[in-house]
């Protein structure tokens, strides 16, 4: 476990979008143990509620295949326009097409792998003080 980067009281904020509750729980708890604040969303519409709000976000991790009107790829597209510069990680059993994510994590994966990716993607923006990726 590492402390929140640069010792701020609250760590960087990660939005985790996953419709399988036990996977979401596992990922969220591992990321929290690593010092991050985690917002959990069970589907794309829930995630959009946070992406369009004023909560600072430093990383979006989304599953691609989710039930409902929007899948993870469409959510990622919307996130790019709502939060330019927000790093995006796509999780999928298959290679995604049509979206340039910052990172793709192939399912099944260990939550520890996600923490490693989060550390790499967040550290640069967090250290430079770019911690207020609010919606335009």
């Amino acid at each position: 476990m590492h402390e929140p980067l640069d010792g701020r009281a609250n760590g960087p904020v990660i939005l985790v979008v996953e419709d399988e509750v036990l996977i979401r729980l596992d990922n969220a708890e591992e990321l929290r143990r690593a010092g991050y604040r985690v917002i959990e969303a069970a589907d794309a519409p829930e995630a959009l509620g946070f992406l369009s709000g004023s909560e600072p976000l430093h990383l979006l991790v989304t599953d691609i295949n989710m039930p409902g009107a929007l899948d993870g790829l469409e959510l990622a597209e919307m996130a790019r326009s709502l939060r330019p510069g927000l790093p995006i990680v796509l999780a999928s059993a298959h290679a995604p097409h049509g979206f340039e994510a910052d990172r793709v994590i192939r399912k099944p994966y260990f939550a520890s792998e996600l923490v490693k990716i989060a550390n790499e993607l967040i550290e640069a923006t967090w250290r430079t003080g770019n911690d207020n990726q609010q919606a335009c």
């Binding site: 729980l25 959990e40 069970a42």
Partner: protein, 140 residues
């Protein structure tokens, strides 16, 4: 058993409004609880049925806080009824608006929600402590 006693109390919040669920969960985490979030009736069931595993799993849940208007195959009343049958030792706290909850509770001949929306988050802590203390007394 000793290991279990050192674990923080695990609370499950079942609420289909992500913004409400997140705000409440963050507050309760800040207060030292382990908080598991469920967005639907089915997610709550999955979490409650999930044993603790070396590589994950929710493990035992000590307390359930559910919104009356939970989405999915059942509402908060249905979740409470399911818990009474399957996990009778797990206290449940229902939250909801007065009118809709009273209508449903009346139909079910069951008691209404203990927490009436809008409520202060401090009330949740009080209710959690009270119900867990009640359970501890009943075990003794």
């Amino acid at each position: 058993m000793a290991d279990r006693e050192r674990q923080p109390t695990s609370l499950l919040i079942a609420d289909s409004d992500a913004l409400v669920r997140h705000a409440l969960a963050e507050y309760l985490r800040h207060c030292g609880y382990r908080v598991i979030e469920a967005a639907s009736f089915e997610e709550a069931q999955l979490v409650l049925d999930s044993p603790s595993q070396p590589d994950g799993g929710a493990g035992p849940v000590d307390f359930v806080l559910s919104d009356v208007e939970l989405m999915g195959g059942g509402n908060g009343f249905a979740l409470r009824a399911w818990l009474r049958e399957r996990y009778p030792d797990v206290p449940v706290l229902l939250a909801g608006s007065i009118q809709s909850a009273a209508e449903v509770a009346g139909e079910l001949c069951d008691k209404g929600p203990e927490l009436k929306r809008p409520y202060a988050v401090e009330q949740v802590i009080d209710e959690v402590r009270r119900k867990l203390a009640e359970r501890a007394r009943s075990v003794i």
